[in-house]
């Protein structure tokens, strides 16, 4: 009996470890390689841990040497030293800001729009609420790729190409339907009597949303913020088409641009990758404690 239980624990541990390696391995390699010089990265067999830790890659991002990238300088810059800078390296920090600004705006607006819509559909029994919900969801059936050209034409007509606003609007179209759907199912779990009590106590619909539904849906709200931010942060194809200069380009576009025809600096790209994962990770750690269950305990007889 003991033996079998031990075996079971062992199997679970091994499988869990494999899962951790599968998930965390690439991230670990990203961090490790960002601290290595180009020659260490490309060595065979690979160096899993940096043989010599260097911050040159980050220095290149945060304090890029003032120089023009010409055919001449590029030939001089030996990629193997880790000092090689791809063209466009100076765009990394502005792109980081663009990504962050777009992500935050999407996260906030997504929440504002979705929670009011979800409240209306879940709580107010108006005629056509089912139709409204399905109409919203059906917009997500169309593949994004099919929308790109029409969307680009619309944005060009509105003179919004190369603006962060265009990205915000586009990403909201992606995130809002899902968020509404998630929040509706959450709101519907909140006992209907709490709504009746709130209205009888003197809450308008706004106050019922503010004082009853939002406090009790905190986990869903946090999840929505994370979802919207990450969707925006990682999005590539819309950004590629809708933005063509650094006033509005986001991180994925800039980083992908570092893969060049002649030389690709893996060390630099990995350092940029590390920077790209920091904001979402920080956000996730900040909000993780709000994702708890059982907020409605004690509301009604259960």
């Amino acid at each position: 009996m003991m033996w079998r239980r031990g075996l079971r624990a062992l199997v679970i541990t091994v499988l869990s470890l494999l899962l951790v390696i599968y998930v965390a391995g690439p991230v670990a390699w990203l961090v490790s390689s960002s601290l290595q010089s180009e020659s260490d990265i490309t060595a065979v067999p690979p160096n899993w841990l940096p043989p010599k830790v260097t911050f040159d890659n980050f220095e290149a991002i945060f304090a890029p040497p003032k120089r023009e990238v010409t055919y001449e300088t590029r030939r001089q810059g030996d990629p193997a030293t880790g000092r090689f800078l791809p063209s466009g390296a100076e765009n990394l920090l502005p792109a980081l800001w663009n990504s962050f600004a777009v992500g935050m705006l999407v996260a906030i607006l997504n929440l504002v729009v979705s929670m009011t819509a979800a409240y209306a559909i879940a709580v107010i029994h108006f005629k056509g609420r089912k139709a409204a919900l399905y109409t919203i969801l059906v917009t997500r059936v169309i593949p994004d790729i099919a929308l790109i050209v029409p969307l680009f034409l619309v944005m060009r007509q509105l003179d919004l190409v190369n603006t962060r606003f265009a990205l915000v609007v586009t990403y909201l179209a992606v995130t809002v339907p899902f968020t509404i759907f998630i929040l509706i199912s959450y709101f519907e779990q909140i006992p209907r009597d709490l709504y009746r009590a709130a209205r009888a106590d003197g809450c308008s619909h706004w106050q019922a949303l503010r004082f009853v539904y939002l406090p009790l849906s905190l986990p869903a709200l946090v999840a929505s913020v994370m979802f919207a931010f990450l969707t925006s942060w990682n999005e590539f194809i819309f950004a590629l088409i809708l933005t063509q200069n650094i006033t509005s380009q986001t991180l994925p576009i800039i980083i992908s641009g570092f893969v060049m025809d002649f030389t690709t600096s893996f060390s630099f790209i990995n350092a940029a990758g590390v920077i790209a994962i920091v904001p979402p990770v920080v956000l996730a750690m900040m909000f993780e404690r709000y994702i708890v269950s059982g907020l409605t305990a004690g509301a009604v007889k259960g």
Binding site: R196, A197, G298, A299, K301
Partner: protein
């Protein structure tokens, strides 16, 4: 304080009609109880008074104010629910204070009112707790407190005692009755429990399938039920029903069924010979007495301590009658029942409406 008037209220959910042209006049400061089985439309009516349900047709008036299209938060109502419906994230104090905060009452007044209500309801020591730390009875007291600090014009209660155990229900019933007297406000109370309805109400509205069956004082509803449904719904044990017909005879009209022959009140049944009717007899309206007009045999005895229920087989029907606890009867014994013909109820077999004087 308000008189509530429902004027031809109809409520449809898609194809289903929950309420059909309901007219109701609830007097100022009255304790009105809506009584009926589940699905009879009593909670829907309460929600409509609160403004929580839109109506398909008709009008609602609070005094001279037409509130048909006034949203609930502007109607100055307070509500108590079967499920208590306390805000789980707020303390007891904040739950009670919430309605006042929404009205921007100043902090000192809020504090005074919350503490006064808590004292009245004997929950002062619980003010800092969260709802999940309270028992059912305590939660319902908090819910009452939340409603009464507001001093609403109408106090609505949706089966507030149904989740409590029997002993607590009796004490809470008394508390609610005291509150009604102390507050001098119109109370509308929904229940399916006839004992609650009888003890609390100034008047009772008995409902069934969205239609008012009878609206009257508890006494009138019990003693002069308008139809067979009302007669059967109130009273425990349930009223005995025997189907038969009226026969005219030398001794005046009588109810007959096979060999069974029971004289009935001529004022009700004279000239109705041959009419198919249902006879209603309350368990306490018959006594076991030698020489009574109704003979039968004791089929079963259910002692209840304070009294006993005797099941009497008479002809092909079985009646339950209430007998004093010290009355000696035995199963199988032949007995006779006597009763006052004026205490018998006659209902038309087809329409189920009461014969004779309408309440």
């Amino acid at each position: 304080m308000a008189r509530i008037r429902l004027d031809g209220i109809t409520k449809r959910y898609g194809q289903v009609t929950a309420l059909q042209r309901l007219d109701l006049d609830i007097r100022d400061r009255e304790f009105m109880v809506f009584l009926g089985p589940s699905g009879c439309g009593k909670t829907t009516t309460l929600n409509i008074i609160a403004g929580l349900e839109e109506i398909s047709d008709g009008d609602i008036w609070f005094d001279d104010r037409r509130v048909t299209f006034i949203p609930p938060h502007q109607r100055e109502i307070a509500m108590v629910f079967q499920s208590y419906a306390l805000y789980p994230q707020k303390s007891v104090y904040e739950n009670i204070a919430f309605g006042l905060r929404l009205r921007k009452v100043d902090e000192a007044t809020i504090d005074a009112k919350v503490r006064a209500a808590a004292t009245q309801l004997e929950i002062e020591h619980l003010l800092d707790r969260k709802p999940q730390q309270l028992s059912g009875g305590q939660r319902q007291r908090v819910a009452l407190g939340r409603a009464l600090v507001r001093q609403p014009t109408v106090f609505l209660m949706d089966e507030p005692l149904s989740n409590l155990d029997a002993a607590l229900r009796v004490s809470m019933r008394a508390l609610i009755k005291k509150l009604h007297i102390a507050m001098g406000t119109t109370f509308v109370y929904v229940t399916h429990d006839q004992a609650e309805a009888m003890t609390l109400a100034d008047r009772i509205t008995v409902m069934r399938d969205g239609v008012v069956q009878q609206l009257d004082t508890p006494d009138a509803i019990y003693n002069r039920p308008a139809n067979r449904f009302v007669a059967g719904f109130l009273g425990s044990p349930q009223m005995n029903f025997v189907e038969g017909e009226i026969a005219e005879g030398p001794g005046g009209p009588a109810f007959t069924r096979g060999a069974l022959r029971i004289p009935v009140d001529p004022a009700v049944a004279a000239g109705q010979g041959g009419r198919k009717v249902v006879l209603g007899l309350r368990a306490e309206d018959a006594v076991i007495a030698e020489g009574g007009p109704l003979r039968g045999e004791v089929a079963l005895i259910s002692p209840l301590g304070s009294e006993q229920h005797v099941h009497v087989a008479a002809g092909d029907s079985e009646l339950i009658i209430r007998a004093p606890k010290d009355q000696r009867v035995a199963v199988g014994e032949a007995i006779a029942l006597a009763f006052d013909p004026a205490r018998l109820h006659l209902f038309d077999a087809a329409t189920e409406q009461r014969l004779g004087q309408q309440p």
